[in-house]
Symmetry: C2
Subunit: 578 residues, 2 copies
Amino acid sequence: MDKILRIQMGPDHPPKAVTEPIGDYAGSGGRGMTSAVVAKEVPPLCHPLGAENKLVIAPGLLSGSAAAMSGRISVGCKSPLTGGIKEANSGGQAAQVLGRLGYAAIVLEGKPAEDKLYKLVVNKDGVEILPADDLKMLGNYDAVEKLTAEYGDKICCLSIGQAGEMKLGAATVACTDMELRPSRHAGRGGVGAVMGSKGIKAIVLDDSGLSMRSPMDSDKFKEANKAFVAGLKKHPVTGQGLPAYGTNVLTNVVNEAGGYPTYNFKTGRFDKAAAISGETQAETETARGGQATHGCHRGCVIRCSGTYMDKDGHYLTKQPEYETVWAHGGNCGIDDLDSIAMLDRLDDDFGLDTIEMGATIGVAMDAGLAEFGDAAKAIELVKEVGKGTPLGRILGSGAGVTGKVFGVERVPVVKNQSMPAYDPRAVQGMGVTYATSTMGADHTAGYAVTANIMGVGGSVDALKPEGQIELSRNLQIATAAIDSTGMCLFIAFAILDQEETFQALIDMINAFHGLNFTGDDVTEMGKKILKMERDFNERAGFGPKDDRLPAYFRQEALAPHNITFQVNDADLDTMFDF
Amino acid sequence: MDKILRIQMGPDHPPKAVTEPIGDYAGSGGRGMTSAVVAKEVPPLCHPLGAENKLVIAPGLLSGSAAAMSGRISVGCKSPLTGGIKEANSGGQAAQVLGRLGYAAIVLEGKPAEDKLYKLVVNKDGVEILPADDLKMLGNYDAVEKLTAEYGDKICCLSIGQAGEMKLGAATVACTDMELRPSRHAGRGGVGAVMGSKGIKAIVLDDSGLSMRSPMDSDKFKEANKAFVAGLKKHPVTGQGLPAYGTNVLTNVVNEAGGYPTYNFKTGRFDKAAAISGETQAETETARGGQATHGCHRGCVIRCSGTYMDKDGHYLTKQPEYETVWAHGGNCGIDDLDSIAMLDRLDDDFGLDTIEMGATIGVAMDAGLAEFGDAAKAIELVKEVGKGTPLGRILGSGAGVTGKVFGVERVPVVKNQSMPAYDPRAVQGMGVTYATSTMGADHTAGYAVTANIMGVGGSVDALKPEGQIELSRNLQIATAAIDSTGMCLFIAFAILDQEETFQALIDMINAFHGLNFTGDDVTEMGKKILKMERDFNERAGFGPKDDRLPAYFRQEALAPHNITFQVNDADLDTMFDF
């Protein structure tokens, strides 16, 4: 992983591939890499769909190695949704394969002169940029099927669906899992639209004939990895809850805590939550011959994924995540798992962020386009996106645009990105993360649910403003670092609670790269990334007023706790004082 | 004009009218009044369509008097289009009538609890708020016809069309002219959407039984007014050009100067401009029995308006303004005056800003929704807005949203408001105004075409950056002051060039109000308003990066001068250093 692959799409020359040494970017991985390239090379005021923007795809520092859980790939750019810097990351096979191929990053640059589609094929023999107009307006599932037919089943794919081709704000980059299903997504912020603007429909990666990346100190690495895995297995969240029920184990937890945004963030508890909980979901999956426990990439030991079969026992989609089940479920008043799974499948196929789409349908329901709870109509609405109708394009542009077009006042976005599945009034630490994250409203940027609800990594009263800034800040810093390693964020539960597991992670990084990192160095790495991202956003025109929740979160009290967002603005403005 | 009428729409009480003394707002008129109320009373981070926003409708300091040209009414709010402060002003009868009714402002506040429509009837006997669901989704022409049938032909109306009811970003507030045609519009920034969000379909004003406002010193006032009118008649622009051909006299002038944005700002000259010039337009109007010279309000002596008949000699619309003819004409590659007039009529009827709509259709053409030059398709597209289809709602939301939804990179907006009919590369002073105005891209905010192209108020080379900041600054300050008097901005041509005409205006204000204003006081008034607006925008989250043209204006050279926008950012950032 000492080289960078630049795909230069034009417009003043035909598309070409240039491989160059990693140079100044050495030591950066994942989000650290994508944000460094974007911060340094992308003019902050450029148009996100223009030639000056770049799409950076980077495996983490440990990706491609034998390190457990190191399968996350980061996709970064200036976001068409937020207008700020963006890193969206995804599971699936791409990080591991790209790591083995030796690339620290693929950077898509420029813009083709003509309105044509291309695919990129990267294997041990090199790189090819080929026409791909035969994939035009195919969904991710069909596109991957065609690519598999052509390139065999040892590949993995990054691709965009119709949404990315249409350059919509909710468009994702899909990553195939171990079964070559485009079911994992770099979901947020419209990264798929930027890939679409570069004219790249798919990237085919094939590491056949290549071996795993080798650590500098193999023995120490193995030992650390073993301790790390043991730590994950030991922790109740990563060892039991997530494997058994997947992320959807949270439905009951968050609903019970009164922080489950229901009916477009109108109340904090959904009376039909039990019907769509992780427990019900796992039972349904197993009963139909699907899997309730499954890994999304080689080397996963948490295995929070699964497969969701339809009523006839045929594969419909991967096990929908908690945030997806919430977005298309409680947030829209929908309590039918099959409908939610269908919506997940459609989102994955069209290449749409499930969180953004669920929030958008919630706003559309407030606009009167459907009744809350009308699953059939919700499915119809999402299908509009695949068809590319004007209505579909509105919805695929996300909640912010949908709110504008339909004149809806209550639109749950920060920096124009939809809030995920935790109401900021009942989980105030999450509200701080939504408000201040460089990414827009994003739960993964600083997952305060840990100390607010789960009692992981300490305990901070979810309903009070006290302590939330510090909690969110520490989490945002730690997350930026984790997102650079290629590690799945879910390791955080174990490393927050178990010092020896955190140490094992550091030992693993040190043994692999021949470094002497301490915990403080990891923190410093996180801080450096956040500052870089914050600086980009400032240069793009963001200021303190962009670090605010929509006004109604301070005005409308949320049942059952009847509470508004309490953290004051002056405190929010201290987030980056570090 | 010593009282303010507040219409409190709820939601926690039925709509009610409260009249209060002018109090602290004494001495403010027009834009000075609307901006003062918005700056003081509207929370800068509120949702523009929410209960906290206010729509302020204010006649100018001289409106309702015998002062010539004092018929402009200001409509202000937090803009749903820009997110910043907004003042849009309009001709028509409303300012004169509201002045005679004695109101310094009508302030629409709150939001009704139910989704119902209301109308407001204001006459010498008082104020009534009445249900108006019978006007639901009527165009402005039909709505006014119904209101005239009910209230007689002595009224004047402020109303919204379908666009305002749908709360779209391009929605206007229409004002009737002397013939009770809703043909004059407070067009920019979506003020009609805010009126729609308050549930007010129309405001019926009737000054029957009331007399003109009397000056403090009648003799001096008469004398000053006479000198003022003489000055207007003497100046070639206000005395000859505008009366003969209307504002569309500019088509040939700006096209000749190479600053006529053509095909969505791709070139600066339209080879078919002659077909849609003011000269051709006046000839067509006269030949069909329309008027090429006409005043839009009582007391107008410039009479730049007109009436445009269809081929059968029936009234189709008022004489389309230069910016309208450009927006729907050259900007869309359309060279047919009848089609442009039809588009103007549709915009007026639906209540849409012609500039925003023309720029939007240009963007839609770049998106492939129609070919440049296809007038029939352009008409179809605008009709979609009236129908309220998803496509219509997209277009009615303006160029920014349309660009997002259709993934178009070249979108000519500043602060999300479309640029008008002067390319900022070939009229660089105009570019400075677009970039820095508190209003978003707005030619009227600081009309640098004067010194850049027309040789009025001095001469500054349109193609060079030198002197543009100072030019725009002085014009922005002067304009803010003029917009407070109720005076039509077109008096600027005469008062910039003729010191005695400027003095006559000041004498008129002094004689009317018993003041001793000097030219410096007028400048101070303008500065104070601009600072107040700028401060609101800063509190709403605007910073220096919002004072920029889209990047492509610095990258793509404009023919025929092959020039990019040259004024540097550091200089733009000095605009408010006064």
